[in-house]
C-alpha cells in the first residue's frame, strides 16, 4: 500500500484544511452521525475506565496494603471487594473499547467504499476533456493515496484525537486542582516540546519533499529504461544506463536517509523532553513543598508527578496526528474537487429505438431488427415522430477549439450520404481525429451545426448517439478479461456464436484459436502479450459485434499487414453495406476506394472528392500520392 506523500503542512494548508474538514465531517455525519455518537460515548467510557485503573494502583497501596501492614490486619475481604469492583470497571472499559473499534471498522470501511463508489460513478460521467487535462497518474492517486490516507485518518486519527483531547482535559483539570504553579511549569515544558517538534517536523518536511522528488526521478528513470531495455541492449548502452541510474539512486539515498532520520528522532526527543519535564517538576515541586509554598504537600506532589507523566504522552500523540490530518485533508480536498467537476451535460431527448417497417410506416419494437429509428418527441404539438436511421451526416460550417484561444477546426462543411465511405487524410495535428470526436460529441462544437439524419446532434441523447456509432481507435484499449469478454464489450448480450462470427469477420479467429486457451484466454489489462496488429483485429471484432449503423475507423488498421487488412476490409464492407463509414488513415490502400476523401490541413478541408477526382485536380493529394511537386 502506498504510504508516500508524507509532506508536512504549511500555514495555507491549515486554512484550506479547515474548510475541507468541515465539509468532510458534514459528509461523514450525514451517513455515520449515529455511529460517531456511539463511538464518542464509548471512548469516554474507555478513558474513564483506564483512569480509574491508574488510580487504583495508588489506592491499592495507600488504602489497602499500607493500612494492613500498619495495623497488622489479616482481612483481605475489602481488597477482594475493591479488586472485583475494578475488574468490573475494566470489563466495561474493554467492552467500550471493543465496541468503538468495531464500529470504526464499519465506519471507516463504509466511508471508503462510499467515497470510492461515488468517485468512480462520477468519474465515468465526466467529459473526455477532463481526462485530457488531468494526468492519469494523478486521477489514480485519488483512489490509492488519497482514499487510503483518508481512511486511516477516520479510523485512527479521529478516535485518537478524541481520546487524547479527553485525556488532556481531564488531566489538566486534575493538575490545576493540585497545583497551579506546577501546572504552569508543565505547560511551559509542553510549549518547548511543541516548539522542538515543529522544528524537527519542518526539517523532516524539507527532506520528505526532496525524497518525493527524488523518488519520482528514480521511478521515472526506471520506467523509461525498463520500457526501452531492448533498445539499450541493441546500442550496448548498458554501462551508460547504469551510470545514470546510480547517480539518481545516490541522490535518493541522501534524501531518504535525511527524511527518515528526522522522522526517527522525533519520538526519542519527545520522550526524553518528557523526562526532563518530570525532573524539573520534581525539583521545583520539592522545593515548594519543603518551603510550604502555595499549599503543596508531598502527597500532592507525588500525584502531580504521575499526572505529569500521563500528560506528555497524549501531547506528542496529538502533535503527530495533526500533521497526518492536514495531509489527509489535502487528499480529501482533491477528492472533493473531482466530485465537484461538472459531469457531461446531456439535454438530448431524441432516442434511438429498434424499429420495423410496415408498409412505409415506421413503428417502434422490442427486438433487434437491424432497423433503427430516431424517436423524436415534439413538445409543440405533443407528438412523436420516428425517423429511419440512415447515417446521413452533415457538417455545416463547424468551428471547434479545445480551448477558446486556439481554434483547431475552421469552417468544416461536408455531407456524408447514407452508405458512403468518407476518408480523412492529412498530417498529424490537421484535425482528422477531432472531426470524428465531434460526431459522437466527445467534444462540443464552438460554432456551426452537425446534423445526423437531419436532426441536430445536440438534440440526440448522448448515449443513443454513441450507440449508433461504432468507433475503432488507433491505440487499441483492451480490458482485463478473456478474449471473448473483450469482443463482447461491443454488445453485452452477444452469444458465443456471434462472438466467433465477429472474430472471423475481423480475421482474428485464426490467431485467437492459437492462443493457449482460445477465446477464454485471459488478457492482462493492456493486452501485453498480443502484437499491436492482433489488438487492432480484436478492436475491429468488438466494433463488428456492436453492428453499428455508422462506423468510424481511426487508423484502425495501421498495424495490420495489407493482405490481412484487405480481408478485414472486405468483411467490414459487407457488414457496413448501405451504412456510413468514416475512415482516418495514412495508408493509401486503406482509403483509395472511398466515396469521398477529405484532405485536411491545419484544421481546414483543403480538397475533397474521390480518388480519381483528386488526382485530376493535381493539388495536395496528387502531391502526396505521387511524391511529385506541382508548380502551382
Amino acid at each position: 500500500m502506498p504510504r508516500a506523500r508524507a509532506q508536512r503542512p504549511t500555514r495555507e494548508q491549515f486554512a484550506e484544511s479547515k474548510a475541507t474538514m468541515a465539509r468532510l465531517f458534514k459528509y461523514i455525519f450525514k451517513y455515520y452521525g449515529l455511529h460517531f455518537g456511539a463511538v464518542f460515548v464509548c471512548i469516554i467510557i474507555s478513558v474513564l475506565a483506564n483512569v480509574q485503573g491508574t488510580l487504583f494502583m495508588q489506592t491499592l497501596i495507600d488504602n489497602y496494603i499500607t493500612p494492613m501492614l500498619v495495623l497488622g490486619l489479616d482481612d483481605f475481604s475489602p481488597l477482594l471487594e475493591a479488586i472485583t469492583r475494578v475488574a468490573g470497571f475494566y470489563a466495561i472499559g474493554i467492552l467500550a473499547t471493543f465496541t468503538y473499534n468495531l464500529i470504526m471498522v464499519y465506519v471507516s470501511q463504509g466511508i471508503q467504499r462510499r467515497l470510492r463508489n461515488e468517485l468512480f460513478s462520477h468519474m465515468e460521467k465526466l467529459p473526455i476533456k477532463y481526462f485530457d487535462t488531468h494526468a492519469h497518474g494523478d486521477i489514480m492517486s485519488f483512489y490509492t493515496n488519497d482514499i487510503d490516507t483518508l481512511r486511516q485518518m477516520v479510523s485512527q486519527s479521529i478516535p485518537q484525537m478524541v481520546n487524547s483531547a479527553f485525556t488532556i482535559v481531564s488531566v489538566t483539570i486534575s493538575m490545576i486542582f493540585l497545583s497551579i504553579p506546577l501546572t504552569l511549569i508543565t505547560f511551559i515544558m509542553v510549549g518547548v516540546m511543541l516548539l522542538v517538534t515543529t522544528r524537527l517536523s519542518g526539517m523532516s518536511a524539507k527532506y520528505f519533499s526532496a525524497q518525493q522528488k527524488d523518488i519520482a526521478t528514480v521511478n521515472g528513470n526506471i520506467q523509461e529504461i525498463m520500457s526501452g531495455q531492448k533498445v539499450v541492449k541493441v546500442f550496448c548502452h548498458e554501462d551508460a544506463a547504469i551510470e545514470d541510474f546510480n547517480s539518481f539512486n545516490d541522490r535518493l539515498f541522501e534524501s531518504a536517509y535525511n527524511a527518515n532520520k528526522f522522522a526517527n528522532i522525533l519520538m526519542p526527543v519527545n520522550a526524553q523532553l518528557g523526562n526532563v519535564s518530570y525532573v524539573i517538576i520534581a525539583v521545583a515541586g520539592g522545593a515548594m513543598a519543603l518551603s510550604g509554598f502555595a499549599g503543596l504537600t508531598l502527597g500532592k506532589l507525588a500525584s502531580f508527578l504521575t499526572f505529569n507523566k500521563s500528560f506528555n504522552m497524549p501531547i506528542s500523540q496529538v502533535s503527530q496526528q495533526v500533521n497526518f490530518i492536514v495531509m489527509a485533508m489535502a487528499g480529501a480536498k482533491r477528492i472533493f474537487e473531482l466530485l465537484d467537476e461538472t459531469p457531461e451535460v446531456d439535454e438530448g431527448y431524441v432516442t434511438l429505438v429498434n424499429a420495423k417497417e410496415d408498409s412505409g410506416a415506421i413503428t417502434e419494437c422490442e427486438d433487434r431488427t437491424g432497423l433503427w429509428a430516431w424517436k423524436h418527441y415534439h413538445k409543440a404539438d405533443d407528438s412523436t415522430t420516428y425517423t429511419r436511421l440512415a447515417g446521413d451526416v452533415v457538417f455545416d460550417d463547424v468551428d471547434f477549439a479545445y480551448n477558446p484561444e486556439k481554434t483547431v477546426l475552421h469552417n468544416i462543411t461536408l455531407h456524408a450520404l447514407p452508405g458512403q465511405k468518407i476518408a480523412f487524410v492529412g498530417a498529424t495535428g490537421a484535425g482528422k481525429t477531432t472531426i470524428t470526436n465531434l460526431i459522437n460529441r466527445f467534444y462540443d462544437i464552438a460554432d456551426g451545426k452537425i446534423r445526423y439524419d437531419n436532426i441536430n446532434i445536440n438534440k440526440i441523447k448522448k448515449a443513443d448517439l454513441r450507440r449508433s456509432l461504432g468507433i475503432v481507435l488507433q491505440d487499441t484499449h483492451l480490458f482485463s478479461g478473456t478474449v471473448a469478454d473483450n469482443i463482447r464489450y461491443g454488445r453485452l448480450d452477444a452469444s458465443d456464436e456471434e462472438v466467433i462470427a465477429a472474430a472471423k469477420l475481423a480475421n482474428a479467429d485464426g490467431f485467437i484459436r492459437r492462443l493457449p486457451d482460445g477465446y477464454q484466454t485471459v488478457l492482462s489489462s493492456d493486452g501485453g502479450s498480443l502484437s499491436s496488429g492482433q489488438r487492432q483485429l480484436l478492436a475491429i471484432a468488438r466494433a463488428a459485434i456492436a453492428d453499428p449503423p455508422v462506423l468510424i475507423l481511426d487508423e484502425a488498421t495501421s498495424s495490420i499487414d495489407t493482405r490481412t487488412e484487405r480481408i478485414v476490409q472486405d468483411g467490414m464492407d459487407s457488414l457496413m453495406k448501405g451504412r456510413t463509414t468514416f475512415v482516418i488513415a495514412h495508408r493509401l490502400s486503406t482509403i483509395r476506394n472511398s466515396d469521398m476523401i477529405c484532405v485536411l490541413d491545419a484544421g481546414r478541408i483543403i480538397e475533397h472528392g474521390n480518388h480519381d477526382e483528386l488526382l485530376e485536380k493535381k493539388g495536395k493529394y496528387y502531391q502526396l500520392y505521387t511524391g511529385k511537386v506541382v508548380n502551382a
Binding site: S121, F253, G429
Partner: protein, 585 residues
C-alpha cells in the same frame, strides 16, 4: 534468499550493526528511568529530602541525555542502514537487468521489472528498518522486564510468563489467519485499482460504447466485495483487542491481589510491587511490537522473493571465452536455423531458414502479421540464440563474437523503437558517444531527419520528452534510423522502421543508403511493397518459413504471396501519407 539479500547491505554493515546497539542502550535507559522516577518519589518527595530529589533528578537527567543520544543515534543509523540497503538493492537489480538478454526481459516483462525495482524495494526497506530498530528493541525490553520481574519475585513473575505465552500463541494463530485474509484483500485491492486505471486510460472506449453504467456496476460489485473482505479481516484484528486488554488487566489485578498477600506476609515491599506493575506494560507492549514486526515481515516476504528472482536470474546470452573482437565484413549466413521463443512451444517461430546474404547487399523482407520477420533479423545481432542451426556474420558463428563488438557492427532499428528523454543530439549519440555534431547532422541527412529538426526552435538541442512523445511517429522513426546509422555498422537492419514515414521520404532514405553507405549490408523489413521493391533481393516469409527469394520482378512472376501483397497495395500508385507531418510541401 536471505543470504543473497543480506549481501546487499555492503558498506552499511556498520550502520546495520550500530542501530540495534543504540536501540539496546535506549532500552536500558528506558528501564532505568522508571526506577529513578520511583526513587525520586520514595526517597525524595515522600521523605521530604530535597538533596535526594536533586541527586536522583541529576541522575535522571543524565539518563535522559543518554537515552536521547541513543535514540537519536539509533534513529540516524537505522535510517542510513535502511536507505542504504534500498539503494544497493536497486543498484544491484538495475545492473543485473542490464546483463539480461531479450529472452530474460521477455520472461519478466518490463512492467513487472518496474514494480520489483520500486514497490518491492520500498517494502523491503521499511521491513528492514523495522527489524533493525524494533526487532532489537522489543525482545530486549521483553527479556529485561522479564528478568527484572523474576529477580523481584519469581512467584509473581510466573504470572507474566504464562500470560506472555498464552498471548504469543494466540497472536501467532491470529496473525497467520489474518495474514492469509489480508493477502487476498491486498490482491483484490490491487485488482480494483487496476480496473480504475483501465477505465481512465480506456475512457474513450467506455464512452464510445456507452458502457459507463456497465463499468460502474462492475466497479461497485468489486468495491462491495473488497468491503466485505476488509471488514472480515479487520473484525478479526479488532477481536484481538479485548483479549489483549483483558490479559493486561488480568495480570495487573492478579499481581495486585497476590502482591498484597506477599507484602502482608513480608515477602515483598510496596516499591517492588509498583515496579512489577510497571514491567507489566513493558512486557505486553513488546509482545505487541513483535507481532507487528511479524506481520510486516511476512508481508514483505513476497517482495523479497521477487527481488531475489531478479538478482539470481542467469542471463541466457553472455560473452564467450576468448571472443572475436572484429567483424570482418557484412556478410550473413543462416544455415538450417530453427527458433522457438519458448522451450515448450510445439510450433517453431522459425523453421529451417537457410539464406546467404553478401556483404553490401540490400535485402527486403516481407510477410504477414506474425510471419516471424522480426524474429529472423533478431538472430543476426544475437538478441536471441537460434535453437538449431547456425547464424554467421562475417563468416563466423555469432556466438563466437564479443557481444558489444557484434552489436556495434550489426545495428538494428527495432519495430517498437524508443527515444529517451534528453536532447536530439543526446539521443543520436546513443549510436556513437564520440560522434561530432557534424557527424550527427550527416546521419540525420541520410535519414531525412535534418529537414524537420532544423525547423524546430531549438534545432538539434530540442529536448525529447520521455518516450519521444513530442515528436510525431514519422519523425521518431527517422531519428531512430539516424541513431542507428551513426554507429557506422557493417550491417544495418530496419525492422518496419519507415511505416509512419510517407512514401516519398521513404524512397529518399533508401536512395541515400544506396549512394552514401554502399558497403553496408542493409536489411529492410516492411509492409509496403514500395519499401522493398528496389532491393537486390526480397525474402518472402510465411509462417516462419522462407516462401520465396528473388528480385521484385522474379517474385511478382513466381511467388503467389508476393503477388497478392502487391495487388492489395496497387491499383495505381503505392504512395502513403506521412503519418508524422507533411514533409514536402
Amino acid at each position: 534468499m536471505i543470504r543473497r539479500l543480506a549481501g546487499e547491505i555492503r558498506e552499511f554493515k556498520k550502520d546495520a550493526f550500530m542501530t540495534p546497539m543504540f536501540m539496546l542502550l535506549e532500552v536500558a535507559m528506558e528501564m532505568t528511568i522508571p526506577l529513578l522516577m520511583a526513587r525520586i518519589i520514595d526517597q525524595g518527595v515522600s521523605a521530604g529530602q530535597m538533596d535526594q530529589i536533586l541527586i536522583v533528578g541529576f541522575f535522571m537527567l543524565i539518563a535522559a541525555a543518554i537515552g536521547l543520544f541513543a535514540g537519536v543515534m539509533g534513529g540516524k543509523y537505522g535510517a542510513r542502514a535502511s536507505a542504504g540497503f534500498a539503494r544497493n538493492l536497486r543498484k544491484a537489480m538495475f545492473a543485473r537487468i542490464q546483463t539480461f538478454s531479450f529472452a530474460n526481459i521477455d520472461r519478466f516483462s518490463s512492467a513487472s521489472l518496474i514494480t520489483r525495482l520500486t514497490t518491492d524495494v520500498t517494502n523491503l526497506q521499511n521491513s528492514f528498518q523495522m527489524i533493525l530498530r524494533i526487532g532489537a528493541r522489543a525482545p530486549a525490553s521483553l527479556i529485561v522486564a522479564m528478568t527484572m520481574s523474576f529477580y523481584i519475585s519469581p512467584r509473581l513473575a510466573m504470572i507474566y510468563l504464562y500470560a506472555a505465552l498464552i498471548l504469543a500463541v494466540f497472536m501467532m494463530v491470529l496473525v497467520s489467519i489474518t495474514r492469509k485474509i489480508f493477502e487476498q484483500v491486498f490482491k483484490k485491492y490491487d485488482e480494483l485499482n487496476a480496473s480504475v486505471e483501465e477505465n481512465i486510460s480506456g475512457i474513450r472506449v467506455v464512452k464510445a460504447y456507452v458502457r459507463e453504467a456497465f463499468e460502474t456496476s462492475k466497479f461497485h460489485l468489486a468495491a462491495d466485495n473488497l468491503y466485505h473482505m476488509f471488514i472480515k479481516a479487520e473484525r478479526l484484528m479488532v477481536g484481538m483487542m479485548p483479549v489483549m486488554m483483558g490479559m493486561v488487566y488480568a495480570c495487573i489485578l492478579l499481581i495486585s491481589w497476590n502482591g498484597a498477600h506477599l507484602i502482608v506476609g513480608g515477602e515483598l515491599t510496596t516499591g517492588e510491587l509498583v515496579s512489577l506493575l510497571a514491567y507489566c506494560m513493558n512486557i505486553l507492549m513488546s509482545l505487541m511490537m513483535l507481532s507487528m514486526i511479524f506481520v510486516m515481515v511476512t508481508m514483505s516476504i513476497a517482495s523479497a522473493e521477487r527481488i531475489t528472482e531478479v538478482l539470481t536470474e542467469v542471463p541466457t546470452i553472455s560473452n564467450p571465452d576468448n571472443p572475436l573482437m572484429e567483424v570482418r565484413d557484412g556478410s550473413i549466413d543462416f544455415m538450417h536455423v530453427d527458433f522457438a521463443y519458448n522451450d515448450r512451444s510445439i510450433e517453431y517461430a522459425l523453421t529451417d531458414i537457410t539464406l546467404h546474404i553478401d556483404s553490401g547487399e540490400t535485402i527486403g523482407i516481407i510477410g504477414g502479421t506474425g510471419s516471424s520477420k522480426s524474429t529472423m533479423v533478431n538472430l543476426i545481432s544475437r538478441l536471441y540464440d537460434a535453437k538449431n542451426g547456425l547464424v554467421r556474420v562475417g563468416g563466423e558463428d555469432v556466438r563466437k563474437y564479443d557481444l558489444e563488438t557484434l552489436r556495434k557492427q550489426v545495428s538494428v532499428v527495432l519495430q517498437n523503437n524508443v527515444l529517451f528523454s534528453g536532447s536530439i543530439l543526446d539521443n543520436l549519440r546513443w549510436g556513437d558517444p564520440e560522434a561530432t555534431e557534424d557527424e550527427c547532422i550527416n546521419a540525420c541527412k541520410l535519414a531525412c531527419a535534418d529537414e524537420f529538426i532544423e525547423k524546430l526552435p531549438d534545432g538539434y538541442d530540442t529536448y525529447i520528452e520521455q518516450g519521444g512523445t513530442n515528436v510525431s511517429g514519422g519523425q521518431r522513426q527517422r531519428l531512430c534510423i539516424a541513431r542507428a546509422i551513426l554507429a557506422k555498422p557493417k550491417v544495418l537492419i530496419l525492422d518496419d522502421s519507415t511505416s509512419a514515414v510517407d512514401t516519398a521520404t521513404d524512397a529518399k532514405i533508401r536512395k541515400a543508403f544506396r549512394e552514401e553507405i554502399p558497403g553496408t549490408t542493409k536489411i529492410i523489413i516492411a509492409q509496403r511493397i514500395s519499401s522493398v521493391s528496389d532491393a537486390d533481393r526480397i525474402v518472402v516469409l510465411d509462417n516462419g518459413r522462407i516462401d520465396g527469394v528473388g528480385t521484385h520482378d522474379e517474385l511478382l512472376a513466381g511467388n503467389a504471396i508476393y503477388r497478392d501483397v502487391y495487388e492489395s497495395q496497387t491499383g495505381g500508385g503505392t504512395a502513403d501519407f506521412d503519418e508524422g507531418g507533411a514533409s514536402h510541401a
